[in-house]
C-alpha cells in the first residue's frame, strides 16, 4: 500500500518540470507579497483568497502534467466546439457587466467562455496541423485562420480587447510555428496597415479608440482615461532604482493606482521594488518563456511542438502587454500580469498552460 502510494507519487513528481516549477513558484511568491501590499491598506487583504486560488491552480497544473499530449489531443475538438457554442451563447444571452457581455449565466455559476478559448484555441489549431501534417498545404493555413477568426470576432463583439488579443496571439503562434510563410505574414501586415483607418473608424469602440489616443498623450485626459496611465507611470518612476520598500509605496497605499491588485499590480510592484525588482521579474519571465520554447524545440510530435511553442509565447505576450501598458508604452487592455495579478480565473488558465508544457516535456515516449 505504502509502496504503491510512493510509486504513484514518484510518477506524479516525475511529470513535473523543475525549472518551470521553480520559476512559477518564485513568480507566485512575488505575486502573493505584492497582492498583500496592494490590498492591505484597504483593510481587506485578498491574501487568503489568492493562496486558495494558487493552490487550486497548482493542483490543476499537477493534474494536467500527468496527461499525455496524445490524450490532450482528444480534448482539442470538443473543447473548441464547446467554446464556440458558449461564445455564441454569450452573444445571444450573455450577462452584461460594465457595458460588455462577457459572462454566461449557467444557473448558479457564471462562466467566461472566452477564457476557455485561451486554452482551446492553441489546442485546436495544434491538433488541426498535427492531423494534416503529412498533407499540409497553404489552404490548411487558410482554414486555420478561419478557425482562429471565428472566436476572435465573437470575443471582439463582447467587447473584450484584452482576451481577443490573447486568444488571437495563441492561435497565431500555432500557425506561425506551423510554418506560415514570411511572405504571407508580410502581406498580411501590409493589408492590416491598410485596413487600420477602416478598423479605427468602424470596428473599434469609442473607449478603445480613447485608450489608444490616451496612450499617445495621457495628459490629454488626465482625469479620465489618462488617469490610470499617469498614476501608474508616476508609481513606477517614483520607485526609482531600488524602490520605496515593501508596503511603503505611497501611490499604492494612498489609492492613486487604479486596479492595483489586478491589471495594474505591476505598478505596485515597481513602486516598492524599483528597477532591481523589475530586473528580477523580467529575468524570471524570460526564463519561463525560454524554458517553454526549449521544451517546444525538443518536443517529439508536431502537436506538442506547436502547443508548447504557442503556450510559451502567449505567456510572453501576457507579461509583455501587461507591463507595457502599465508602464505607458502600450494601450490599456485587460490583460493581467501572469502569476502576479490577483484573480483565480487567469491563474487557472495560466497554470493549465504550464501543466501542458510539463506534460509535453515529461511524456517523451509516445
Amino acid at each position: 500500500m505504502m509502496s504503491r502510494l510512493k510509486y504513484w507519487l514518484r510518477q506524479m513528481v516525475a511529470h513535473l518540470d523543475l525549472p518551470l516549477l521553480l520559476v512559477v513558484a518564485l513568480l507566485m511568491g512575488m505575486g502573493l507579497i505584492t497582492v498583500y501590499s496592494a490590498t492591505a491598506s484597504t483593510g481587506l487583504s485578498r491574501l487568503d483568497n489568492q493562496i486558495v486560488n494558487m493552490l487550486a491552480a497548482f493542483a490543476l497544473m499537477v493534474a494536467v502534467s500527468q496527461v499525455s499530449p496524445r490524450q490532450l489531443m482528444r480534448f482539442a475538438v470538443p473543447l473548441y466546439l464547446v467554446g464556440i457554442l458558449l461564445l455564441v451563447g454569450v452573444f445571444l444571452f450573455g450577462v452584461s457587466v460594465n457595458g460588455s457581455r462577457r459572462w454566461l449565466s449557467l444557473g448558479l455559476v457564471r462562466i467566461q467562455p472566452s477564457e476557455i478559448m485561451k486554452i482551446a484555441m492553441p489546442l485546436m489549431l495544434a491538433w488541426f496541423f498535427h492531423k494534416h501534417e503529412s498533407e499540409l498545404k497553404l489552404k490548411h493555413f487558410a482554414i486555420a485562420a478561419l478557425l482562429l477568426a471565428l472566436p476572435i470576432l465573437l470575443i471582439l463583439k463582447q467587447p473584450d480587447l484584452g482576451t481577443s488579443l490573447l486568444v488571437g496571439a495563441a492561435g497565431f503562434f500555432v500557425i506561425f510555428f506551423a510554418g506560415l510563410p514570411w511572405k504571407i505574414m508580410l502581406g498580411m501586415s501590409v493589408a492590416a496597415g491598410a485596413a487600420l483607418p477602416f478598423v479605427w473608424s468602424m470596428a473599434l469602440h469609442d473607449y478603445q479608440r480613447r485608450r489608444v489616443l490616451t496612450l499617445l498623450d495621457p495628459t490629454s485626459d488626465p482625469l479620465g482615461a489618462g488617469y490610470h496611465i499617469i498614476q501608474s507611470t508616476i508609481a513606477i518612476g517614483s520607485g526609482g532604482p531600488f524602490g520605496k520598500g515593501w508596503l511603503n509605496g505611497t501611490q499604492t497605499h494612498l489609492e492613486f493606482i487604479p486596479e492595483k491588485h489586478t491589471d495594474f499590480i505591476f505598478a505596485v510592484f515597481s513602486e516598492e521594488w524599483g528597477l532591481m525588482g523589475n530586473a528580477v521579474l523580467l529575468l524570471l519571465f524570460t526564463l519561463l518563456v525560454t524554458r517553454g520554447l526549449f521544451i517546444a524545440a525538443s518536443a517529439p510530435t508536431l502537436f506538442s511542438r506547436l502547443l508548447a511553442g504557442a503556450i510559451s509565447l502567449v505567456l510572453f505576450i501576457y507579461a509583455f502587454v501587461n507591463m507595457g501598458m502599465v508602464s505607458g508604452i502600450l494601450p490599456v487592455v485587460g490583460v493581467p500580469l501572469p502569476f502576479i495579478s490577483y484573480g483565480g480565473t487567469a491563474l487557472v488558465t495560466l497554470m493549465l498552460g504550464v501543466g501542458m508544457l510539463m506534460a509535453i516535456k515529461t511524456h517523451r515516449k509516445l
Partner: protein
C-alpha cells in the same frame, strides 16, 4: 506528395528556426521593456518622485481665529465661538438631493437650511465644502458619526462662528462678517499681494470663507483676520487626509480695542426709543468716537452664517431702513446748527466783530425777495451772541450776503464740511457743501449750473443745498472747540495682539490745523453756552450740574432731501430735529451731534437726548429711556424759515 510544409525534416527545421528566433526575440522585447523602465526609474526618477510627492502631500490652510472687538472698558462686542456644522462637498456626491434627503432622516434639516445651502452653493465652487446645517447639538453630531460611512463627501466640522454678544448694540459701527464674494476675494488677493512684499512672507485667505462686510469688521479686516497657517497633510487619491506631516500654526487676528464706551452707547441708543435718527459723540481732544448711534439698528448676528431670506427681506423692506448708517451716511441740511459755524467764519474772516449789531425788522430784503425771520417783527438789535442764543435768521442773511458764497465755502470746507472725515469705518458720505463750483459740477443743465446770489442768503442759515452728516457736524464743532486742531474721528483706540498681550495704541496726532483765534473760539463757546442757559437749549439743560454749550437746529423736510417723504404718513412730514452740543464749556470732553428724523424742533426732541448723554458721560447718571420730549422753549420755535417766494415788494 510532400511540399515545403509537409516534408518532415524541412518542416522541423523551419520550426526549430522559428523557435530560435523566439528565444532571441523574447529577451530582446523584454530588454525594450527594461529600457523604458530604466528611463522611468533612473533617468526620470526625480520628476516622478516629485509628482508622487505632490500627489500625496497637500497643503491644508488652517484659518486663524478672528480677533475680538472690545469697547474701551473691555466689554466684548464681537468674538468667536466654536460650533459643529454639517458640511457637504457637492463635487464628491453622486446625487446631491438624494444625499440631503437621506441626511434629513438622521439630522433635522429644515427647508430654510436647504434654501441657504442652495444659495451658498451658487456662490461657491463645486469642490468647496458648504455648510448644510449649522450649530449641531452633541447628540446630532453623535448620530451623524454613527452613519458617517454612508455619506462620503459629508462631514461634521468644528467651525468658529462670529458672535456679537451685545446684539444690535453699535451694530453700524462694528459691522458684521459674512461669506466672501468674488469681488471681495479679488480685492483681498490684490491687497495681500501688496502686503506680502512688506511682510516678506506668504499671506493668504485660503480656507477663509468669511470677511468683514461693513463697519469695523470691514475696515480692520486684515488686523482682525490674522495669518493663515498650514498643515502639510498626506492625502489619499480621494483627497482624504491620512495624517499630518507638519504644521505651521496660524497667527490669530488682533483684537480691536475701541474708543467706544458700550454703556454710553447703550444708553444713547435707548434715548432714541423707536425714533429714527443718529448720534455721534466725540472726544474733541483726540477725535475718539465715544458713541455712534444709528437708529434703528440691526442684529449683525443674523448675517454670520448666511442671512435667511425672510430676515434679509424684513431688513430691506423696513421703511425705517435699519441697515442705513445714518450717523455717517445720511446728510441733512444743518439748519440753525450752522449758525455758530457761520459766526466762527465771520470772526475768522474779519467780516464781523462780536460787538457789531444789526437791527432785525423780522426780514431781510434781497433784490425783490424777502427772507423772513421766524420771530414776527424781528429780534430788534442783534449782536453776534444774541444771534446764536436767539437763533436770529436775519443776522445770518446779512452775514451770508456780506461774506459771499466763496468765502463761506472756503471756511466751511476748512472746518471739514463737504468732505469725508476719514473715520475708520467705511460708507461715509461727503455731504454737500454748496458753492458755485459744486453747483456747476452737480447739475447737467446749463441753467441749473448758475449760482444765484439769493442762494447764498439761505446757505447762511444752514438751508439751501447744505447737507451734512451728524458725524461731520460733530467733527466740525470739535475742530472749533480744539482751537483749530483737527483730529481724525476714530473708533479704534488700540490694537492688541492676543498672543503676546502687546497693545499698540493708535496715534492721535492732529492731522491738520485750521487758523482760528483763541478769543474767537472762546466767544463762540460762550455764546453756545448761552443757548443752553437762556436760549433754545435752556429747557433741555435746565438744572444741569455742569456747564454746556449747544445749538438747536431744524432741517426742513420739504426741501431737496425731504422729497422722498412726500405723500407718506404725516409724521414723516415733520421737520428733522438737530442738536449739536459740548460740555463742559471750559474744557470740553464730549461733543455730540444729534439728529432725530422728523423730530420736529431741535429743542424738542434732539436736545434732551444730548442732555441724557452728557449726564451719563459727565456725571455717570442713569438716564430715562427713551429721552422725553420737552416742551418748546419760551423763546418760541427755532424754525428756520425761508420765504423767498412770497416776499414783500
Amino acid at each position: 506528395m510532400q511540399n515545403e510544409f509537409s516534408h518532415p525534416d524541412q518542416a522541423l527545421q523551419k520550426f526549430r528556426h522559428r523557435v530560435r528566433l523566439a528565444i532571441v526575440g523574447v529577451p530582446l522585447f523584454f530588454l525594450l521593456l527594461f529600457a523604458n523602465l530604466y528611463y522611468l526609474q533612473v533617468t526620470q526618477k526625480e520628476y516622478y518622485a516629485t509628482r508622487a510627492e505632490s500627489n500625496r502631500i497637500s497643503l491644508v490652510p488652517v484659518v486663524p481665529n478672528r480677533g475680538n472687538i472690545e469697547d474701551k472698558n473691555g466689554v466684548i462686542l464681537a468674538r468667536n465661538y466654536s460650533a459643529y456644522t454639517l458640511e457637504v462637498t457637492p463635487a464628491r456626491l453622486q446625487n446631491l438631493d438624494e444625499t440631503i434627503a437621506q441626511l434629513a432622516e438622521i439630522i433635522p434639516i429644515e427647508a430654510k437650511d436647504i434654501k441657504r445651502f442652495k444659495r451658498l452653493r451658487e456662490e461657491s465652487k463645486n469642490f468647496e465644502s458648504i455648510p448644510l446645517r449649522t450649530r449641531l447639538s452633541d447628540e446630532e453630531v453623535a448620530r451623524f458619526a454613527a452613519h458617517r460611512y454612508r455619506f462620503p463627501g459629508v462631514e461634521v466640522k468644528a467651525r468658529l462662528f462670529r458672535q456679537y454678544p451685545e446684539g444690535t448694540l453699535a451694530a453700524h459701527a462694528i459691522g458684521y462678517i459674512s461669506r466672501i464674494n468674488q469681488e471681495e476675494q479679488q480685492w483681498v488677493d490684490e491687497a495681500l499681494a501688496e502686503q506680502e512684499k512688506e511682510a516678506g512672507r506668504n499671506l493668504t485667505y485660503k480656507g477663509t470663507t468669511l470677511i468683514g462686510k461693513i463697519g469695523l469688521e470691514k475696515n480692520y479686516e486684515f488686523e482682525l483676520h490674522g495669518i493663515t497657517g498650514y498643515e502639510q497633510v498626506e492625502v489619499d487619491a480621494g483627497g482624504q487626509a491620512v495624517r499630518v506631516l507638519s504644521r505651521s500654526a496660524p497667527i490669530p487676528g488682533n483684537n480691536l480695542i475701541l474708543t467706544l464706551d458700550s454703556q454710553l452707547q447703550k444708553m444713547a441708543e435707548a434715548t432714541f426709543g423707536n425714533r429714527r435718527g443718529s448720534l455721534v459723540a466725540l472726544d474733541p481732544r483726540n477725535g475718539a468716537v465715544l458713541a455712534l448711534v444709528a437708529s434703528p439698528a440691526f442684529d449683525p448676528n443674523l448675517f454670520v452664517d448666511g442671512i435667511r431670506f425672510d430676515d434679509w427681506d424684513a431688513l430691506n423692506n423696513n421703511p425705517d431702513k435699519p441697515m442705513l448708517n445714518r450717523a455717517i451716511y445720511s446728510a441733512y441740511p444743518p439748519g440753525s446748527t450752522f449758525k455758530p459755524l457761520m459766526a466762527m467764519a465771520a470772526l475768522s474772516t474779519g467780516k464781523r466783530t462780536p460787538q457789531q449789531t444789526i437791527a432785525d425788522p423780522g426780514y431781510f430784503n434781497f433784490g425783490n425777495h424777502r427772507f423772513m425771520d421766524d420771530k414776527a417783527g424781528g429780534h430788534g438789535i442783534v449782536d453776534m451772541r444774541k444771534s446764536i442764543v436767539a437763533s436770529c435768521n436775519t443776522y445770518y442773511y446779512h452775514l451770508a450776503n456780506d461774506m459771499g458764497i466763496d468765502s463761506i465755502a472756503r471756511f466751511m470746507g476748512g472746518l471739514g464740511l463737504g468732505k469725508r472725515t476719514e473715520i475708520d469705518i467705511p460708507g461715509e458720505s461727503t455731504g454737500v457743501l454748496p458753492s458755485p463750483e459744486w453747483k456747476a459740477a452737480r447739475f447737467k443743465k446749463r441753467e441749473q449750473q448758475k449760482w444765484f446770489a439769493g442762494e447764498t442768503i439761505s446757505v447762511g442759515i444752514g438751508q439751501s443745498y447744505n447737507a451734512y452728516t451728524p458725524l461731520q457736524m460733530a467733527h466740525a464743532l470739535a475742530n472749533i472747540l480744539n482751537y483749530g486742531r483737527v483730529f481724525r474721528p476714530h473708533l479704534v483706540a488700540a490694537i492688541k495682539n492676543p498672543g503676546t498681550g502687546e497693545v499698540r495704541t493708535l496715534e492721535t496726532q492732529p492731522v491738520r490745523e485750521i487758523p482760528l483765534q483763541r478769543e474767537h473760539v472762546d466767544f463762540i463757546k460762550a455764546a453756545m453756552a448761552g443757548v443752553n442757559k437762556e436760549g433754545t437749549g435752556a429747557r433741555a439743560f435746565a438744572g444741569a450740574a455742569y456747564e454746556s454749550g449747544g445749538k438747536t437746529g431744524t432741517a426742513q423736510v420739504y426741501s431737496l432731501k425731504g422729497q422722498r417723504y412726500a405723500g407718506r404718513a404725516k409724521e414723516k412730514l415733520r421737520d428733522h430735529s438737530w442738536f449739536i452740543a459740548f460740555a463742559p464749556v471750559d474744557e470740553p470732553r464730549i461733543v455730540v451731534a444729534v439728529m432725530v428724523e422728523n423730530g420736529g424742533f431741535g429743542a424738542t426732541s434732539a436736545a434732551p437726548i444730548a442732555r441724557q448723554v452728557f449726564d451719563y458721560y459727565l456725571l455717570n447718571k442713569e438716564a430715562h429711556s427713551p429721552a422725553p420730549e420737552v416742551d418748546a422753549p419760551e423763546d418760541g420755535p427755532d424754525h428756520d424759515h425761508e420765504e423767498a417766494e412770497d416776499a414783500a415788494p
